[in-house]
C-alpha cells in the first residue's frame, strides 16, 4: 500500500469521521471539514503534472486477491490525471458551494457528506484503477452513491423515482460491462488494462471481440446517458443542486466518456466501435439539444443540455477512433477529433458546473426554477447574471469563451469524418456535420433561453415565493472561479496543453506518435467559421420566433416516449415477477421444503444414475462395532417416535435425541470439533424449539390429511435413500486423493495451528468464514426485523408489511 492508494481511499476514511464531526461540532457547518480533503487531493494530484507531461506514467500495486489476478493497481497517466484533477478540483468547489446551499439547521448534513465523499472516492478509484475488476467495483459504487445522493430528499416521491431510475439503468449497464470485462479476460487472461492494450492483436482477432465491445459500450452509454438511456439524467435532477453540478455534469456522467477513452486503444479501429460510438453520440447530441429547448425547468434544460454535450464528446471520440484505423495517413488528420473531445471535456466541466451553480442560486433565492415564473432578475442579481452570460455563451459556442474553441474543433472533426473513405462513410458521412450543425443551433437556442428568460423580460414578483436578492458571497465564489476559468481558457487555451497532451497519448493508439496541441482563435475564413456564423444567425431567428415553430414539440405523441416505455416496462416486470412468484411461493414452509427436497432428489438421482456414478463397493468398509449399532438403533427408534407421536413436545425431544446421537457418532469417529459443534447446535436449536413451542398449532390438526402424509412419506424416504446412495458411492469410488492430506501437512507449517479444522476455518478459508458470519448477521437482523414488524402490526396498529 502506497500513498496514492491512501489518497484514493481517503474520502472513505474521512466519511467515517463525518458523522462524528457533525455530532460534536454542531455550530460549524460539516462541509468545512469535508472541504479540506478535495483541496489537498487537488494539490496532491497537481504534482503529477510534471510526470505525465514528460510522457511518463506512475504505477503502484497493492496486492488484493493476487491468486485470481485482482490487485489494486493504481495507474496514473494523462487521462487518469485529467479526470482526477476534475474530480478533486470541481469537488472542492462543489463542497464550498454546498456549505452555503444546504442549511445546517434543516438538512441531514452528515448523510449528505458521507455520500458525497463515498462518491468522490469511488470516482477516483474508477479513473485511476488499472485492474478492470477493481475499476468495476468503484464504478458500481458511483452508481450506488449517486442513487443515495439523488434520493437525498427521500420524502419527495420524485426523488425516489429519479434515484431508482438512475440506479436501474446505470447498474444494468454496469453489469453488462462486467460481462464485457470477463470476456476480455477470457481472451487475454488478464484484468489489467495496460496488458490488454499490449495484447490488442489477440483481442481484435478473437471471436469475443464484438460481444465484448458491445457490452463495454452498454456500460459506457448507460453511465454517460447516451440515447436511448438518457432518460435517467433529467430525473436525476431531483438531487440537490451541488450534486447535479458535481455528479451529473462534471464527473459521474463522464465516467462513460472515460471508459470509451480508456478502452479506445483496445477497440478503436473496428468499424463497429466507430459507428456505435460516433453514431450514438451524434444522435444523443441532436436529441438532447432538441429536447432541451422545450423544457421549462432550468435544471431540466441543463440536464438535457448535459445529455447533448456528452453526446458531442462521445461522437468526437468515435470519429477520433478512426485515427487508429488510418494510421498510414501521414498527417494525424483524425486526432483533432480526439483533441477536441478532451478539450471540450474540460470546457464542459467548467461552464456546465458554473451554470448549475447559477441555477442553484436562482432556485435558492427565488424559490422556483420555472422560467415561466422567472424574469427580470438582471438588476436584482447582477453578478449571477454575468456568470450566467459567461456560462451560457460558452455553452452556445460563442467567442471569446472556451466553448467557442472546442465547438470549432468539433466542427472540424465532424467535417473530417466525411473524408473517411471506408465503412460506408462515403454515403452516410454527410449525416455527421449536418446533425452537428442542427444540434448546435438548438444548443444556441436553449443557451439563450436559459439566460434571457431568467434574467431579462418582465419581473413577476407575485409568482415568486421569496423576494430575490443577490446570493451570499460564499455561494458565488465557486461559480466565479469556474466562470473565470471559462474566460481564461477561452483566451489562453494553450495553458491546458500540459493536461491535454498526455491525455491524448493515453487515448490514441501508440502508432500515432506526434500529437501537438495547437488551439487558435483565428483560423481564417473556413467552413467551420461559416458554420458558427450560420448557427448564430439561424439561432437568433429561431429564438425570436419560437412561439411560431415551438408547436412542433406537440406533434410527438406523448404516449410513445421512452419514459413511458421505462415506466410500463417496470410495471410489467413487477406484475410478471409477482405472478410468477405467487405461482409457487405459497407462504407455507412445508411446501417449500417439499420443493427443495424434491428438486434435490430428482437432480441428484438423475446425475447419480445417468453418469453411472452409483456403484457400491463394500470391500474396504470397516467392521461395525457394537456402539455404532446401539447408536443407530437409538436414532431409528427416536426418528420413528417423531412419526407416530401425537405430542409436539415428544417430537421435539426425539429430534434432539437424533441430533445428540449424531454427535456421539462424531465422537466415535474421532471428530471432536464436529461433535462439539453438533452438541451445542442441537442444544441451542432444541431450546429455540421449546421457546416457540407455545405458538405452534396442534400437531394432530396439521397431519390429518392422507395426501399430505403420503407426500411427506415419499419425500422423506427418497431423500433418505438418495443420501445413503451418495454416501455409499462416495465411499466406494475415489477419483483423486483427498485434500485433507494437504491440510494435515500445511496447517502447522503455514498457519501455526495444530487444530486443522480451526485453521481451515479462520485461515485457509477465511473469506468463506467471513461471508458466513456476514450471512448469519444478516439472517439475525432479518429475523429481528420480521418479528418486530409483526409485533408492531398487531399491537400498535402500525401498518407494516406482514
Amino acid at each position: 500500500m502506497s500513498l496514492i492508494h491512501l489518497v484514493i481511499l481517503s474520502p472513505f476514511l474521512l466519511a467515517i469521521l463525518v458523522p462524528f464531526a457533525h455530532k460534536y461540532f454542531k455550530s460549524i457547518h460539516t462541509g468545512w471539514f469535508v472541504l479540506v480533503l478535495p483541496l489537498v487531493l487537488f494539490i496532491y494530484f497537481l504534482q503529477f503534472l510534471s510526470t505525465t507531461m514528460s510522457g511518463e506514467t506512475y504505477t503502484s500495486t497493492m496486492k488484493w486477491i493476487p491468486s485470481i489476478g485482482i490487485d489494486f493497481v493504481v495507474y496514473l497517466d494523462g487521462l487518469g490525471l485529467l479526470f482526477a484533477l476534475l474530480i478533486t478540483g470541481i469537488g472542492a468547489l462543489v463542497v464550498l458551494y454546498s456549505i452555503y446551499y444546504l442549511s445546517k439547521e434543516k438538512e441531514a448534513l452528515n448523510t449528505f457528506y458521507v455520500y458525497l465523499l463515498m462518491f468522490m472516492g469511488a470516482m477516483l478509484g474508477v479513473v485511476l484503477s488499472d485492474n478492470l475488476l477493481v475499476m468495476y467495483s468503484f464504478w458500481e459504487l458511483t452508481s450506488i452513491s449517486s442513487f443515495l445522493l439523488i434520493s437525498y430528499w427521500y420524502h419527495r416521491e420524485k426523488s425516489r423515482y429519479g434515484a431508482l431510475k438512475s440506479m436501474l439503468i446505470t447498474v444494468f449497464g454496469g453489469l453488462a460491462m462486467l460481462a464485457g470485462i470477463i470476456l476480455l479476460y477470457l481472451i487475454t487472461g488478464t484484468f489489467s488494462v495496460r496488458e490488454t492494450i499490449a495484447n490488442v492483436d489477440i483481442v481484435t482477432s478473437h471471436e469475443f471481440f464484438v460481444p465484448a465491445l458491445l457490452l463495454f459500450l452498454l456500460g459506457a452509454f448507460t453511465k454517460s446517458a447516451q440515447f436511448p438511456f438518457h432518460i435517467w439524467l433529467p430525473d436525476a435532477m431531483e438531487a440537490p443542486t451541488p450534486v447535479s453540478a458535481y455528479l451529473h455534469s462534471a464527473t459521474m456522467v463522464k465516467a462513460g466518456i472515460y471508459l470509451v477513452a480508456r478502452m479506445s486503444p483496445v477497440f478503436a479501429g473496428a468499424p463497429e466501435w466507430f459507428w456505435l460510438v460516433s453514431g450514438f453520440g451524434i444522435v444523443t447530441l441532436f436529441w438532447g439539444s432538441f429536447s432541451a429547448v422545450k423544457q421549462t425547468d432550468l435544471k431540466s434544460i441543463l440536464a438535457f443540455s448535459t445529455v447533448s454535450q456528452l453526446g458531442l464528446i462521445m461522437s468526437l471520440l468515435g470519429v477520433g477512433s478512426a485515427a487508429a484505423y488510418y494510421d498510414y495517413i501521414d498527417e494525424n488528420a483524425y486526432t483533432i477529433a480526439t483533441l477536441a473531445a478532451v478539450f471540450h471535456l474540460i470546457n464542459h466541466a467548467t461552464f456546465k458546473g458554473s451554470l448549475f451553480m447559477v441555477v442553484g442560486i436562482v432556485d435558492h433565492e427565488t424559490g422556483t426554477r420555472d422560467i415561466r415564473k422567472l424574469g427580470g432578475l438582471m438588476n436584482l442579481m447582477p453578478i449571477t447574471f454575468t456568470l450566467a452570460i459567461i456560462g451560457a455563451f460558452s455553452m452556445a459556442g460563442l467567442p471569446p469563451f472556451n466553448g467557442f474553441l472546442s465547438k470549432e474543433m468539433f466542427f472540424t472533426g465532424m467535417l473530417q469524418a466525411t473524408e473517411i473513405s471506408s465503412w460506408n462513410m462515403e454515403t452516410l458521412g454527410m449525416i455527421f456535420p449536418v446533425l452537428a450543425w442542427v444540434a448546435s443551433v438548438f444548443t444556441f437556442i436553449y443557451s439563450m433561453v436559459l439566460v434571457f428568460k431568467t434574467f431579462t423580460g418582465k419581473y413577476q414578483p407575485e409568482k415568486l415565493d421569496k423576494k430575490p436578492h443577490e446570493a451570499p458571497i460564499g455561494m458565488l465564489i465557486p461559480p466565479i472561479i469556474l466562470a473565470s476559468l471559462v474566460v481564461i481558457f477561452g483566451f489562453f487555451p494553450m495553458l491546458l496543453k500540459g493536461v491535454i497532451e498526455p491525455a491524448l497519448y493515453s487515448i490514441l493508439p501508440s502508432n500515432v506518435l506526434s500529437v501537438e496541441v495547437k488551439i487558435y482563435h483565428w483560423h481564417g475564413f473556413n467552413t467551420e467559421l461559416f458554420m458558427t456564423i450560420g448557427v448564430i444567425l439561424v439561432g437568433v431567428l429561431l429564438y425570436l420566433t419560437v412561439a411560431k415553430w415551438g408547436k412542433i414539440y406537440e406533434w410527438f405523441p406523448q404516449r410513445l416516449t421512452l419514459n413511458k416505455l421505462y415506466d410500463g416496462g417496470l410495471v410489467a416486470l413487477d406484475r410478471g415477477s409477482s405472478a410468477f412468484t405467487k405461482s409457487h411461493m405459497t407462504g407455507f414452509i412445508r411446501d417449500y421444503l417439499v420443493m427443495i427436497f424434491a428438486f434435490m432428489v430428482i437432480l441428484l438421482g438423475l446425475v447419480l444414475f445417468s453418469t453411472g456414478a452409483f456403484n457400491v463397493n463394500l470391500t474396504n468398509v470397516e467392521a461395525v462395532g457394537i456402539y455404532e449399532v446401539i447408536l443407530a438403533l437409538v436414532m431409528v427408534v427416536s426418528a420413528m417416535t417423531i412419526l407416530f407421536t401425537k405430542s409436539r413436545l415428544t417430537a421435539i425431544i426425539s429430534l434432539g435425541v437424533v441430533g445428540y446421537s449424531m454427535a456421539l457418532f462424531f465422537v466415535l469417529f474421532r471428530a471432536p470439533d464436529l461433535a462439539l459443534t453438533q452438541l451445542i447446535v442441537e442444544t441451542v436449536s432444541v431450546a429455540l424449539f421449546l421457546l416457540c413451542f407455545y405458538h405452534l398449532p396442534e400437531l394432530s390438526k396439521e397431519i390429518g390429511k392422507l395426501r399430505f402424509r403420503l407426500t411427506n412419506f415419499i419425500i422423506s424416504v427418497s431423500v433418505g435413500l438418495i443420501v445413503i446412495f451418495i454416501g455409499l458411492s462416495v465411499n466406494s469410488s475415489r477419483l483423486f486423493e483427498s485434500i485433507s492430506s494437504y491440510f494435515e501437512a500445511a496447517s502447522y507449517e503455514e498457519a501455526g495451528g495444530k487444530n486443522m479444522v480451526n485453521v481451515i476455518l479462520v485461515d485457509f478459508r477465511g473469506l468463506d468464514t467471513l461471508f458466513e458470519i456476514a450471512v448469519l448477521t444478516i439472517a439475525a437482523f432479518g429475523i429481528y426485523a420480521m418479528i418486530k414488524l409483526r409485533l408492531t402490526d398487531k399491537k400498535g396498529g402500525v401498518k407494516g408489511e406482514s
Partner: protein, 140 residues
C-alpha cells in the same frame, strides 16, 4: 402462573458461569485443540440460553445490558478489519500471521492474528444466536 424453579435457578447460576468460562477456554484453545470462535460462541450462547430458560428475558437483559445485534455487528466489523489490516503490510486481504512470544506469566505463547479474526466470529455467533432467541422469546 407461578412456577417453583428454585433448584433450576440455583444450579443455573453456578453452571452458566462454568459453561461460560469453559467456552472462553474453548475459544482460546481453538488453534491447537478442538474449539475456536464458532464453537466458543455457540457454547456461550448455550449458557445464556440456559439462563434464559431458568430466569426470564428481563433478568437476562439486566445482567447483560448489551444489544446483541450490536455485538454481532461489532464482531463482523472486527473480522473485516482484521482482513483489511493485512493490506497495510502489503499482503493480500485476510492474510494471517503468527509468532511465538515470551509472555510474563504464561511463558512461551503462540500469538496468531487469526485469534482476532476468530474473536469476530465468536462475537457474531453469540450476537446472532442471542438476537434470534431474544426476538422469538420476546414475542410471547
Amino acid at each position: 402462573m407461578k412456577v417453583n424453579d428454585l433448584i433450576l435457578q440455583t444450579v443455573t447460576t453456578l453452571l452458566s458461569f462454568i459453561i461460560i468460562i469453559f467456552s472462553v477456554y474453548l475459544f482460546f484453545a481453538g488453534h491447537y485443540t478442538p474449539g475456536g470462535g464458532f464453537i466458543g460462541g455457540l457454547m456461550t450462547s448455550a449458557a445464556l440460553v440456559l439462563l434464559l430458560l431458568a430466569f426470564d428475558i428481563k433478568t437476562i437483559n439486566t445482567i447483560f445490558p448489551f444489544n446483541f445485534m450490536t455485538v454481532a455487528a461489532a464482531g463482523l466489523l472486527i473480522s473485516v478489519l482484521t482482513g483489511v489490516g493485512a493490506l497495510f503490510f502489503d499482503v493480500p486481504y485476510l492474510t494471517h500471521t503468527f509468532d511465538y512470544v515470551e509472555l510474563p506469566i504464561l511463558g512461551e505463547t503462540a500469538l496468531a492474528s487469526t485469534l482476532i479474526f476468530d474473536l469476530g466470529v465468536y462475537l457474531v455467533v453469540v450476537g446472532v444466536a442471542m438476537t434470534i432467541i431474544q426476538t422469538i422469546g420476546e414475542s410471547e
